[in-house]
Amino acid sequence: MSDTAVTISKTLTPGKRLAPGLGIPMSKTMTPSKSLPVNLGIPISKTITPSKTAVGSISIAVTIVKSLTPSGVIHKVNLGIGISKTLTPSKAISIATGVVMHKSIEPSGRINAGIGEAPCLLYVNDLQNRVWDLLDDDGTYYTPAEVLHALNVAQRVFCLLTFVLQTTFQFELTNGQALYTISSQIPNFLKPLRVSYNGVRLIPETIHTLNLLNDAWQATPGPVTHYFQEGFDLLGIYPQPASGTNYLTFTYAAEPQALVGQNDAPQIPAEQQIHLVDFACWWCRLKEGGAELQEATEYLKRFLGAAQHYQGYVMSKSRGQLYDTKPMDISTVDKSRFEFKQGKAPQGKIKTPKAPKPPKERAE
């Protein structure tokens, strides 16, 4: 047996997305899980290319330098032979000793935290993993589609309770027309917050109050001064412009887009995204019932508390609460209604009738 110089060049594919961060130095010490049939003093140079597109077009270049000390026995000697091999590992890196990793990352997206911290923006992949962690699952029992749906419900409910997503849109008017279907121009509309015409804010009304103002409100030409919104989708304006091209500047509370792919991020602010995990845990536990659901109810209460807190923040941003529509104040909701005790009927008033008592045995 004698020493030889072997050079191995490997191309590895990491199994997980690397968290972006500027100039993050990482140092790791690993212990090989297998015996290496190579000699002492083998320099190994590896180049790793991530298999997934880094989020926000982040380019990652990783160089790994290894120094290995063989633990096995070399049975074959080839003095002075240079070996070059290109490997494609099927697993994440698990065999390295004294590995030094150096990363150069240039994120094109926003960086939410200081250098060296994990980014605040949570993607579907992150959120799903967090849900599975809490539920002690790996996607087998609570499927990815199931968890994704729960996250979507969570985001929509959060937006409904807080009006966190607010958008302004130029709503085109037709001359002489009083009634409009909002969804024909705004697909993600929830409620109007502020509507203006030529820079002048419109007064919100109902059909009833417009009737009191002018019962011919449907056929009164002039610049728009009042509007109403009835039901999900009906918009009425009074008076109606008679000529030219006219728009309403329509600020409204919006619904979020559905999360679809693994690299999608919720539209709600990054710091609020952690609450979606709470709701999703509760939703997934619905099919369990019992103690599992009882524990998850605490997550639901925490989600609702966070929504309530953030609702106050959103409203306080509008001085004097000058929105035309305000979200419902959920601070008055009795959250104890979500609780139940094991063995007792919950507050749905569902009771199992007691079995009749057996007749007493007569004394012989």
Binding site: E146, H149, L190, I207, L234, M328, I350
Partner: protein, 220 residues
């Protein structure tokens, strides 16, 4: 406003019912779930009044006809207007009642409109559900005119055969419907009955229902 698909909503719920599709569902069927969705849409329409429609073709006035069938899917009227013609202007109507009309005109059921006495009021009491009356009764000059009705309506398009699968509501209404459907499916008598899950889903559905009522209810 998103157009939801009841088949998609049901597909979202199969994992909660320990199934992957209607094929391996044991304790609840696709038709049952569809029925729950349809029922809660009607409850939403009746309790909140969030489906507001405009019909401007169904009611065509006839000379001497006092009472007319309301448009399909009618719950109640918010505003009624006689649409303009080439010769006649738009005629907005006021809501009234038979008690008021009796005091106004003993012959309110037969007095006909004229150029000097146009149709001014509509009413809906003491004539049965889904009916609308006009005072004065349309005369010859109003024959052929159309009454535009802004109304609360209710959706009634879902069926077990899924001939129509669309639900025209914001997406979060679909979530509220799903919570109620979970409640119905888990509270019904079966081996899969989960009363605590049913009650938990119902509690959140009730809270969201109040929110929906505040935002889109008749008080708005």
């Amino acid at each position: 406003m998103a157009t939801l698909n009841v088949e998609t909503l049901i597909a979202d719920l199969w994992p909660i019912f320990h199934a992957t599709s209607t094929v391996d569902a044991i304790f609840v069927t696709d038709s049952e779930l569809t029925q729950y969705f349809a029922d809660y849409l009607k409850r939403l329409a009746m309790n909140v009044g969030c489906f507001v429609g405009v019909d401007d073709s169904f009611i065509v006035l006839n000379e001497g006809q006092q009472i007319y069938a309301a448009p399909p899917l009618f719950l109640d009227a918010l505003h009624i207007t006689i649409l303009p013609t080439e010769d006649l202007p738009l005629q907005p109507l006021d809501a009234s009642s038979t008690y008021e009309l009796e005091n106004l005109d003993d012959a309110y059921q037969t007095t006909q409109s004229s150029a000097a006495n146009p149709i001014e009021q509509w009413y809906a009491d003491k004539i049965g559900p889904g009916q609308l009356g006009f005072y004065p009764v349309p005369g010859a000059g109003d024959a052929g005119r159309i009454a535009q009705v802004i109304m609360h309506s209710f959706p009634c398009s879902l069926d077990a055969a899924h001939t129509d699968v669309n639900i025209d509501t914001p997406a979060v209404i679909g979530d509220w419907l799903e919570l109620n459907v979970i409640y119905e499916a888990m509270v019904k008598e079966s081996d899969y009955q989960l009363p605590e899950s049913a009650a938990s889903a119902k509690s959140l559905a009730d809270m969201l229902g109040k929110t929906i009522g505040v935002l889109w209810g008749k008080s708005q």
